[in-house]
């Protein structure tokens, strides 16, 4: 009660400082459910609201975050040839991962939320919770070494042009997190394609190139030495024969044999491979997907449709077999790349997906189908889900429309 009174006292005036008021309101409704009561309609309301929905998705992503932090560190050390065991130097890997993740996380949220607060203040409405999920997804799909200024630009682009220009939460046509990644992809392509971008802290994958450590690492070095634990190998260099390529990049050039020469299928499935932070560990992603399905926040129809579409196209490509990549057995296509991450968290975004039941099947199927084509037949970039989801987002309303018209026709035919 004392806290509540204190908060009520410091409330900024709505007219004199609208931006501060919106900021205050955002944090206040975060801490306290408002005390407004229902009027003119249903008298009881379900306690499930948008904040809770968004938080559930963030909770489903937590496991991916933790694994991603460890994996960032692990891949860095694998490149240097040190600490190759999974649990060796665990503290170093986690610390390194956090040092890489935290700036990206903070920049994403500050830029994204700042823009959202600004627009909310200008329009005079409360801060809407849409960015909680996009802000949690963006760090998981960006390369760990991305320059923060370019990241800020991409988030600003996604939020301003992808969301606020259309009317805010619930009104956007395209997936916001993927728009941010698409911006980086088209504006700064060297930061997101190539062999060394998915491994943190090395300049190139050529043997002998030095490890790069910043001030934060040096700070922790001091701590670890004082504690007597392993510390960062300052003078380490990239080992001979290292390729930082993800399994997908390897398969794109040489087929399944190329990929399995460097990584075993088990490694690919469990996730100790280079890749963006969220996409590598398939079991944890599937766990998150299961959580979303059980709480009925994500639609199983979209997920199932996407699996069918992807599998069907992979089968067709197997039949065709014109290139080594097409010859990758269709079930192994799912082991590589970010299929499951896109399926569980990107495609199921309810705002950008179709809203009718049958529409969701078609939407999911088309994403899977087209995405596999883009992945396998695209010479420039070995992954297709971002482009496929953005493409089919454009058509989700059209898909819906055909089913809505079916419903209308059926009803009018009764007459």
């Amino acid at each position: 009660m004392a806290l509540l009174d204190f908060l009520k006292k410091i409330e900024p005036d709505k007219k004199k400082s609208p931006f501060l008021h919106t900021l205050y309101d955002g944090f206040f409704t975060f801490a306290y459910t408002p005390n407004s009561v229902t009027k003119d309609g249903v008298h009881l309301r379900d306690p499930m609201d948008l904040k809770r929905t968004m938080i559930q998705v963030v909770v489903a992503l937590t496991a991916c975050y933790i694994f991603g932090i460890w994996n960032t560190g692990h891949q860095h050390f694998v490149a240097l040839g040190e600490n190759l065991g999974y649990f060796q130097a665990f503290h170093l890997k986690m610390v390194y991962g956090i040092i890489k993740l935290l700036p990206i996380f903070i920049v994403t949220h500050v830029v994204g939320l700042g823009i959202e607060f600004f627009f909310a203040a200008k329009k005079g409405h409360a801060i809407e919770e849409g960015f909680l999920v996009s802000g949690a997804l963006i760090p998981l799909i960006m390369p760990p070494d991305i320059p923060l200024l370019w990241l800020a630009f991409s988030v600003a682009f996604a939020v301003i042009i992808g969301k606020e220009a259309f009317g805010g939460t619930g009104m956007n046509i395209w997936n916001i997190a993927l728009l941010a990644r698409a911006f980086i992809f088209f504006a700064y392509p060297t930061t997101i394609s190539g062999d060394e971008v998915w491994v943190a802290g090395i300049e190139s994958t050529a043997a002998g190139s030095p490890a790069q450590y910043g001030w934060a690492v040096h700070m922790f070095d001091g701590l670890f030495e004082w504690l007597g634990w392993n510390s960062f190998p300052e003078a380490a260099t990239v080992v001979d024969g290292y390729t930082g390529a993800t399994p997908l990049a390897l398969a794109a050039s040489g087929g399944w044999e190329s990929a399995t020469a460097v990584y075993s299928p088990g490694q690919m499935f469990w996730g100790a491979i280079p890749g963006s932070m969220g996409e590598t560990c398939k079991p944890l992603i599937l766990l998150g997907a299961a959580m979303l399905l059980l709480t009925r926040i994500a639609s199983w129809r979209i997920m199932a449709g996407m699996v069918f579409g992807g599998a069907l196209m992979a089968l067709f490509l197997n039949l065709w077999g014109a290139s080594p990549f097409m010859d990758v057995p269709w079930y192994y296509q799912f082991y590589m790349g970010s299929f499951f991450f896109a399926m569980a968290f990107m495609a199921t975004d309810p705002v950008t997906a179709s809203s009718t039941k049958q529409g969701k099947w078609v939407y999911g199927f088309l994403i899977g189908f087209v995405g596999m084509i883009i992945r396998v037949m695209n010479p420039a970039y070995p992954e297709g889900w971002m482009l496929s989801i953005l493409l089919i987002n454009t058509f989700s309303a059209l898909i819906d429309n055909s089913f809505v018209n079916q419903n209308i026709k059926k009803r009018l035919a009764r007459a």
Partner: protein
Amino acid sequence: MKTGITKLTFLSASLLFSNAILAQSASGDSGYFITTIGIIAAVLFLGVLLMVADNLMLVEANKAGVSKKGNFSLFPNLKEIFKPKLPKGIKVPAEKVTILKKGYDMNLEGGITSDAVHVSKVSRFAIQPKNFLGLSPIPKVEVQVGDSVKAGDHIMFDKKNPAVRFTAPVSGEVIEINRGEKRSIKEIVILADKELSARTLETFNLKEGTREALVEYLLDSGFWPCIRQRPYHVMAEADVIPTNIFISTFNTAPLSPNLNVVIRGNETAFQKGLDVLGKLTDGKVHLGLSATDASPVFKNAIGVEKNYFYGPHPAGNVGVQIHHTDPMKTSDKVWTLDVQDVVNLGNMFLTYTYVQHKVVALTGAELKAPKLVLTYAGASLEELLKDNLKNPEARIISGDVLSGQQKDHNSYLNFFNDQITVVEEGDEYEMFGWLKPIKDRPSVSGTYPNFLFGDTKFRANTNTQGERRAFVLTGQYEEMMPMDILPQHLIKAIITNDYERMEGLGIHEIVEEDIALAEFACTSKQPLQKILREGLDMMIDQG
């Protein structure tokens, strides 16, 4: 058939063609492409073959006259395999029951535990013109303050529609005529006599009288406003012959009274009422019964179609029952009545007086003693709830928590409601309310482990639980409405004033109570009932 043969010919030609090319080409990359096309063509060919064979089978079955007796198609009927099954213990044969899976049964505290019906001591009753949709805000009032009236005496009528008369629910003295905004009549209050006296009506021979005479009789007696018409839930139009009349005999709304208890002792009157209604329509009188628990009075009714339903709320809503029995076409007009009004109608033809009896359920966690009370329509809320409120600040709702109307203490029960719910106002801040893993409130969300708690009764509270947002989640409303309607698209069509789309998506099939549960479940806290009412009003204005 013709299209099947055309497809067959085309496909077999393409198959031969592709085979020929295959044979000629040297083994190389292009061969694979042609092979794929060939395989696809073969699959399609097989599919068309199967479809044609299926059609031929069905044609033969039709010719032999046995097509209705079984599934003669080649393909298994998926609908039959995945059909929902009734649980054990239902005595009604499964073919007669419509099983509804969508919806939600809300278990709240404050339900009525005993079947006893108490006689009320209410002395003030009111007619509220706003209860009757389609009535103009300033009807012509035929009495003045101080007049003595008998039950069934004419009190008011609409100048635009003077044939429909509204009558006094009880006998007594008119003590108040209260006006609302813009001089509209808010309520006409009658202080009841200790002994009820009623106006005697002429006798009416049901078997020999014509339909037109019956309609005139009903218009004059004051019963007519009890009949509501769909689409749009307005008062029935006197010059319309309805396609069907529907009555739902069970109530699934939260804390609603059990109509099996209410109907006890009123069997003859109910049957008489059904006989009268049978004369009013060209079609049938349909009774919607609960498959789990229907009173013998309903089960043994004569001259009506009985349709059984099994499922969670809103299975008891008459709109849902209409949709699954005989879905409405855009030009249809259908009448609906409540069970208690049918009983009053029957009594009118047995005693030739019209008295608006009503059994009202007083429910809600904020009442000291929830109970059933026998009183008349339009009873004073203050007197009904006397000495029964735990907290004078609680919210009084005429009707159920989903589609009822908030009333204050000195107001009166709405005409079409047979329930009062009193719930706690939720005007307190709750710290991290939206984050709590378990909550003592009813919820349809999968994020609360409510399924673990089985039959727990939840505490109701009127907090908005979040603020209004744009539509984000999809598929939520469809899970709460067991009808073949796309509710979110309908609401969006209403918001954008798109008349054709509204009509095509079925606005004539639903009224507010049908979408109330979807509004409860809405994550974005949209005012769906209000939006729907605006849409219905738009359609009424259009004519």
